[in-house]
Amino acid sequence: MSDLSVSVPLSTDAEAIEAQAAAWFVRWGFSNLSDQGQQEFELWLAEAPAHRIAYWRLTGAWAQTDRLTALRRPMPPISASPSGFFRYFKHTVAAILVLAISAAIGWTQLPKPSVQIFSTLLGGHKTIELSDGSQIELNTSTTLRVSLDKSQRSVELLSGEAFFKVRHDSARPFSVLVSGHRVMDLGTEFLVRKDTQRVEVALIQGRARFESVDASIQQHSAVLTPGDVVVANAGSMTVSKKSSAALSNALAWRQGVLIFHFTPLAEAVDELNRYNREKLVVADTSIESRTIYGTVPTNGVQAFIGVARNVLGLRVEKRDEEFLISR
């Protein structure tokens, strides 16, 4: 780009320092640092302000992730237990320094009793029972925050998909917040799914109100009855009616399977990829709209490949962690 900056030798290499800071951050936080390692770490910190600042910066950023996670369970006690990130503290200056920072930014904060975070990893599936008798079933890669108090029950779906079976209580309304939208229970079973660009809510039983609550998105509201499926993004909302068969297909993950009913190949692949580390890729646009029919376990990548090869007559090649599907 500019010929100006090329000729300016910079005094220090921020990239290298940041890499060192990250290495120390991970070593210190999460493996057993020997006394010698501990000393080296302190020397490194003492060596230059740039080292300390780079280290603080990573510490600060890492601590921010607490907002997603710290509420889920109490922080493990500070003990000599060698396992666990930041469970391991040593009696050294550096340890005290980090401890003090963590106290200042809330690492050691205990959760408020009524707020909990639940999550599943890739391919995970978990049912949680709330103290009010309601149930929430989390699908793959899902994180949600539950906050219960005397006057209301509120859940925020931060990512993924969940099925709600709500015990109705008019004195304690149950609401689910997702991407600036809210589902208000009027005695219901419903499914909420959050994707990057859109939100989908399917009402299975009972009634619920769906509305936007974020001023920055298009305002809309609708009362849903069984079979209604709402798809909303920041700009629009559509409600359509689905057959109970289609709805039960959408809920099949609760039984650990995916049901495809003349589903376009590209869509089926996207669906299966939500659950598995090994990803399928449709590498040929001409076959994207081929439809498939059948039931596959959520972890059934190999079964799916078998269907693609033997039933659809397609080619499947493995490249790294991906399977490329083509004609």
Partner: protein
């Protein structure tokens, strides 16, 4: 000021301004590969002077430091293309004084955080989540992911660096969910 106080001050007051600082540096220094070095030098200068006294308010001071640093760098070079410094003298630090990033409400921060985590490369995200949400040790994460411990360290190192970059260095993405 002790380092302990300075560390907290940096985390609370300085790093949250980083997105604005990076935009400023980006506008006034054309070689992108230098930006992180410049940022580091700005922080070190800020650190040196904050050791004596914490500047208050931070923001105008931070930008004054950044501006001086750029002017110094330009002086040290023999050849200065005119357009390299197009707005160095008209730097409108005043307009930087409101700090939207400090006013964002908690929900937006949470969204931003989620989007930062979502944007991590998949393996890296898994390692970070296991370390952070599940509070697993290096060995446990290694077992869970079926890789060796050193590989877990690399993933976590990359994770924490990317998080710092996304949470501090980049302006909030208005479309982030």
């Amino acid at each position: 000021m002790t380092d302990l106080e300075l560390s907290q001050w940096f985390i609370r007051e300085v790093f949250p301004l980083e997105a604005s600082l990076m935009q400023f540096l980006h506008r006034n220094w054309r070689n992108e590969s230098d930006l992180n070095d410049l940022r580091q030098d700005v922080y070190v200068r800020l650190y040196e002077s904050a050791r004596n006294e914490l500047p208050d308010p931070v923001k105008p001071f931070l930008f004054a430091v950044a501006r001086n640093l750029i002017v110094d760098r330009i002086r040290k070079t023999q050849v200065v293309p005119i357009d390299a410094v197009s707005d160095i003298d008209t730097l409108d630090v005043a307009s930087e004084s409101s700090s939207p990033e400090r006013n964002v409400i908690a929900r937006d921060e949470l969204r931003r955080l989620q989007s930062a985590i979502d944007r991590l490369p998949p393996r890296c995200r898994e390692a970070v989540i296991l370390a952070r949400i599940e509070c697993l040790s290096g060995r446990e994460i290694a077992t869970r992911l079926g890789i060796h411990e050193p590989a877990v360290s690399r993933l976590l190192e990359r994770g924490v660096r990317s998080l710092a970059e996304m949470l501090y260095g980049q302006p909030p993405d208005p479309r982030a969910k």
